[in-house]
Symmetry: none
Subunit: 425 residues, 2 copies
């Protein structure tokens, strides 16, 4: 089943409000086997009618958001009724509900408000406990001549739309969807591999099957590899995907830091951090996860050299000999953080976030990260992320978290790009 | 001038990513006198061509986002070239840039990647320092027969699109827009005040003038107060706005952490942080600012109690007597961080981020922050942000940064919400 979404509201086109409707509706509809083929945002007013007309001819299901309120620019209800030739009839139940609401709050009932009680003949009212404007459902009987079998008019504010969708739209849809249309979405989140590598290793081959929709969403140092198709096919391809992408897959949705905190919690292990160039971002990502306090002991943001020596006990002369951005300093920082905190693992970062501070041999974007672990030699990895400061920090902390994930799971550490050189701890 | 925006990307229609492009582009275009008449989101693939065709006939300016990358579902460049009958020609400069990027990172260059260097004849390349896919500008000379005079193809990731838009799209547009449409946008960023207070103090009065567009964008503990209008009117209202909102205004665009780093740099002063509940986020925000290494000495993420005592030298018994979430501990953390790091200022946070860990007297969301300063008594402030974990951290770190901003500028510290109680250091 194909759906189209029409958003109305000048505040969206003026950029005053970010349109979160599409992401919400897609997240709810996709697992039901409904795919959104198109979304359009038009201003309040006449363009709504034209957008509705096109959408009803092109899709099986049409959903609109916004334009059901009391003000002069709320025209969706009228546009739909006019387009479909349905007279507007006052609905006594809605009217008395609105009256009661206003009376309770001691407000006079403006004529305008009463417009919201006008209902196109043959449609069903969707209650709105969060506001005055009810939603409307147009069944196949009033959509004659159009491809669409179902039209829903929903309110604009997310706090009104979402409960209405969950309580009244989804049940109606589930009742009419053919069970054969059931498609599922499966997401593999990968770290340390690029989208073109994913495509070459397995993506193209899956695409050529013809029964799966294959997609990629690349973020810095991460890829979401996405398949949509019949559940049986998805289960069948799972093995091949795991075989090809195995250790790079860190979750089916949770962010990397959540996976790491969960793994540490399961094994009752602890971690500490020593950060230079990432300036606290690594600790911040870990502590963004609820329950992090069970596994995260301490973080040391040793930005100045003196702080590296004093707080982490770096051997005298190490910084002078090798420079702060070096393999021995990364290792010593991780080992120092482990020693001072008493954690089982410690991660460190030292590099040049840029834009300034780079040299020919150590350009902005160069970074060393290290993992010190109980019972293992310290591992140092050199990476190069010549990007803006925020992205640099994100990629560096992702690489560090992935290193720890691989260590906890006892996976090979040298996978995932960059160079990893073992070093005695 | 009327614009249309076409977003492509299955991840948008699948609800995996919220579409923030419209809000961003509208925010940038509106002040230039360009209004967005329509926005549409279509999947990767053939629908792009149809959407392009319609938009080029209907609008003066068309902007697309997404579909410029290396994978098989990136088809925007090809769709536009085909529709306009323009041959694709390899661009040596782009190709060598991509080659260099991959070589530097020691990655193999897949054939697919080279597709990004294909450029439709007669178009101009928009550089993308943040990624491999360049943008493209189609001038009137290649759009013959369409209403549209300008077509821009922009990349999908916001961190690539936004700098490209600011550096390459806006200058091109400004050169062709009639000067009569010139309106400017002025933004006042405020910390520690609510949007309804801003509206009451000055916003409503400015709105009633009729020659200004007044807007508010509220974020946790911050408000952007936005005016759009003729430059002369904006200059005229500046004085009244400063008089009413004075000390709350921290910038005209820069984030709070940038303002604080700049102020510290100007005065050659330094800061350190001691964080419990914010887990490194405060240090991370400060070190997000280029040049932070000049003013930020060290951060201590003392999550575990032992780390608070060992690293910051909290007096024995203080934690046991008062509990970690208390005024004396917040003060001792800030003072300890200042002592250990040698910084002029130190900020501390200790609280309950939640969702777990709260008690009746210290519920989740309660937090103490402290500022220790050379030559001033330590100041402790108690706040209550009963919100999700990420928002809690953001509001807490904003309150801390604003406290430091006010101290550096010698403004009254008790403004801006929360309670501030002076305490001997």
């Amino acid at each position: 089943m194909q759906a189209e979404v029409i958003n109305t509201g000048s505040e969206l086109l003026l950029g005053l409000v970010t349109n979160t409707h599409l992401a919400y509706l897609a997240g709810e509809l996709t697992p039901c086997g409904v795919s959104i083929a198109r979304q359009v945002c038009v201003p309040d007013g006449p363009p709504i009618r034209q957008a509705l007309e096109t959408a009803l001819q092109r899709a099986d299901l049409v959903l609109t958001t916004g334009g059901l309120g009391p003000t002069s620019d709320d025209l969706t209800r009228e546009a739909a009724a006019e387009l479909l030739g349905l007279p507007l009839i006052p609905d006594e139940e809605i009217l008395s509900g609105i009256r009661e609401r206003f009376a309770r709050r001691g407000l006079p009932l403006a004529d305008r408000i009463a417009r919201q009680a006008m209902v196109p003949a043959g449609t069903a009212v969707l209650p709105n406990p969060q506001g005055t404007a009810p939603g409307l459902y147009f069944p196949p009987s009033v959509l004659g001549g159009h491809r669409a079998r179902h039209l829903f008019l929903l309110p604009g504010p997310p706090r009104e739309l979402r409960p209405m969708f969950a309580d009244h739209v989804l049940p109606k849809l589930r009742a009419v969807l053919p069970p054969s249309s059931l498609r599922e979405r499966r997401i593999y989140r990968l770290s340390g591999i690029g989208e073109s590598q994913v495509e070459e290793r397995i993506g193209r081959q899956l695409e050529e099957r013809g029964d799966l929709e294959v997609g990629y969403c690349a973020r810095p140092s991460e890829v979401d590899f996405r398949l949509i198709g019949p559940p049986a096919i998805l289960a069948e391809t799972e093995v091949a995907i795991r075989a090809e992408l195995g250790d790079w897959i860190y979750s089916d949705g949770d962010p990397l830091e959540s996976v790491v905190v969960r793994l540490l919690g399961e094994k009752k292990q602890t971690v500490a951090t020593a950060e230079s160039c990432t300036g606290g971002s690594l600790a911040a990502r870990i502590t963004n996860v609820p329950g992090a306090s069970e596994v995260f002991l301490a973080g040391y943001v040793t930005y100045a050299n003196q702080a590296k020596e004093r707080t982490l006990g770096l051997p005298a002369g190490l910084l002078a000999t090798h420079g702060a951005v070096s393999e021995p300093v990364a290792a010593a920082m991780a080992e120092g953080a482990r020693r001072v905190s008493g954690a089982r693992y410690a991660l460190s970062t030292t590099g040049i976030a840029g834009p300034g501070g780079g040299t020919e041999s150590k350009p902005a974007g160069m970074v060393y990260l290290a993992l010190a672990s109980e019972g293992h030699p310290t591992v140092v990895r050199r990476c190069y992320f010549p990007l803006d400061r925020i992205t640099f920090k994100h990629m560096t902390t992702s690489a560090a978290l992935d290193l720890l994930r691989r260590r906890i799971l006892e996976l090979p550490l040298e996978l995932g790009g960059g160079s990893a050189s073992p070093r005695l701890g």
